[in-house]
């Protein structure tokens, strides 16, 4: 079974902190001077209209893109001192589309650990699938999954890497209403049961209110407000 990071008492330590994070591409400002922190076990939502830089900000956190200035501290360490592959294992990401690799569900779950030369046991695979509500799906071909099932396999695949923080980039926006609720309740269950730290990017403020405790409002690449859900969304 992969390690599960459960909150143990002190929830006030920032597990992740950004400092003046910016990204400019060809004179276009995608993110500017983003400074915020996420505490262990917390769910932080990043909301804002399309094109406000939410996904760009998330991609800076696991260094899929390089910041033009500023940096990120993961457990107090500047992330440039962490090897990119190890950083990405620690900050697991789930995209808007699942992008499952051709093959079975099991092969997809094994992918992350295999990159480090580790092999998941059959037991771990079953437990991961139970966590996302897909018990018995290990041998299924990913081509035959519904949108919601595929997205839950993508969540399980990321969890197989035992991340410290889960980065969710619009995880339900490509799904129909029923699948959206399935994926949302899967995320809620994982967060509640394992106390996993989450950063959720969403354009859906109602979803942010359902899942997160704190929110960060982004407009044109700038953080315009951040704080508890009630204060920010109803201000």
């Amino acid at each position: 079974m992969p390690d599960i990071h459960v909150i143990t008492g002190n929830t006030s330590d920032p597990i992740l902190r950004t400092e003046h994070l910016s990204r400019v591409v060809k004179d276009k400002v995608l993110v500017e001077d983003a400074t915020f922190e996420v505490r262990t076990g917390e769910v932080l939502a990043i909301v804002g209209p399309s094109g406000s830089g939410k996904s760009s900000l998330l991609r800076l956190l696991n260094r899929l893109d390089e910041p033009s200035s500023g940096t990120v501290y993961v457990e107090g360490i500047d992330y440039r001192q962490i090897a990119p592959r190890e950083l990405r294992r620690k900050l697991g990401m789930v995209n808007q589309r699942p992008y499952l690799f051709p093959g079975t569900v099991e092969q997809n779950l094994r992918f992350g650990p295999l990159q480090r030369g580790e092999s998941l046991s059959q037991d771990s695979i079953e437990q991961l699938l139970v966590r996302v509500g897909l018990k018995g799906y290990a041998g299924r071909n990913v081509a035959n999954l519904s949108g919601g099932e595929a997205q839950r396999v993508s969540v399980a695949r990321t969890l197989a890497n035992s991340p410290l923080v889960l980065l969710l980039d619009e995880p339900t926006s490509a799904l129909d209403e029923t699948s959206k609720l399935e994926v949302e309740s899967t995320i809620q269950r994982i967060v509640r049961e394992q106390g996993l730290t989450c950063i959720l990017v969403t354009h859906d403020t109602a979803q942010a209110a359902r899942l997160a405790e704190r929110v960060l409002l982004l407009e044109a690449g700038h953080i315009v407000r951040q704080g508890p859900i009630d204060e920010v969304l109803h201000a």
Binding site: V25, N62, R63, L64, D65, E66, P84, R85, E86, R88, R89, G92, M93, N95, R97, Y99, F101, F111, G112, Q115, R116, R157, T158, N161
Partner: protein
């Protein structure tokens, strides 16, 4: 029919070239009717092609008595030109020219050197340069196909590649399916040429050897030799170019730098 009107061989050649070019332009015009615009590229390619081949033909004539090292010089120049030509098939790929030039140099160059040393290719300038140029030209095409396919595949699978990176994959592993597909696709023409040799086409080299008095069976066997060398040179070129370009599309922090619109 043409020979009835034109008796001088040089004029005959020019008229034949004009007719063949017109046929090619007719196809281009047909394509234009369907909204596919190839006019400029085709016209420039044809004008360049005829000028270049006539120039090389004239130089070869002068070089018949030149020292043998001249072949090395000519083939090196051809490799550089081939690198520049096929790099254009990989627009937006960082380092396409050095990757192409090195790949063709290693692929075609090493096969030419080995085969010349073993005596499969004759060291006479009239043999080494034309046969060497065939290996270089085919390696150039293969390299262009490989880079073009790799670029298209990567741009079409940015999501999959970044998902693999986000799961902790090494950059080179995240693109390995596309490296393999590009390598395989780029070799289809060379393999098909070999497979259909004698059935679908009888290459010019064999015809030339027959005209210059070689024994038909030897001419036929040597044609196979050339195509097998082309496959070896093309395969090595494609292998090297896909492995080299794979390293160039990522930053030092294993970020995919080849992205649509960037």
């Amino acid at each position: 029919m043409l020979k009835f009107f034109v008796s001088d061989q040089l004029y005959l050649g020019l008229v034949q070239a004009l007719i063949a070019a017109l046929a090619a332009m007719l196809v281009v015009l047909l394509a234009r009717k369907r909204g596919i615009h190839l006019e400029d590229e085709t016209l420039i390619a044809m004008v360049r092609g005829i000028i270049q081949i006539v120039a090389v033909g004239s130089i070869l004539l002068l070089l018949l008595r030149a020292p043998r090292w001249t072949s090395g010089f000519l083939l090196t120049a051809m490799i550089i030109a081939a690198g520049a030509t096929s790099a254009r098939r990989a627009k937006g790929m960082p380092g396409a020219f050095p990757v192409s030039a090195w790949s063709i140099a290693l692929g075609a160059g090493s096969v030419i050197a080995l085969m010349t040393w073993l005596g499969v290719i004759d060291t006479a300038i009239t043999s080494l340069v034309p046969v060497g140029s065939m290996l270089i030209a085919n390696s150039m095409n293969t390299n262009g196909l490989a880079l073009n396919r790799f670029r298209a595949d990567v741009l079409a699978h940015v999501g999959e590649i970044e998902t693999a990176l986000a799961l902790g994959a090494e950059a080179k592993n995240s693109v390995s399916p596309y490296v393999q597909a590009s390598f395989e696709a780029s070799l289809i023409p060379a393999i098909d040429s070999l497979r259909s040799l004698g059935i679908v086409w009888i290459p010019g080299l064999m015809a030339g050897m027959l005209l210059s008095g070689a024994r038909p069976v030897y001419a036929a066997i040597y044609q196979f030799v050339v195509l097998a060398m082309i496959l070896a040179a093309s395969g090595l070129t494609s292998l090297v170019s896909t492995l080299l370009i794979r390293e160039r599309i990522f930053t030092a922090a294993q970020q995919l730098s080849l992205q649509p619109g960037r």
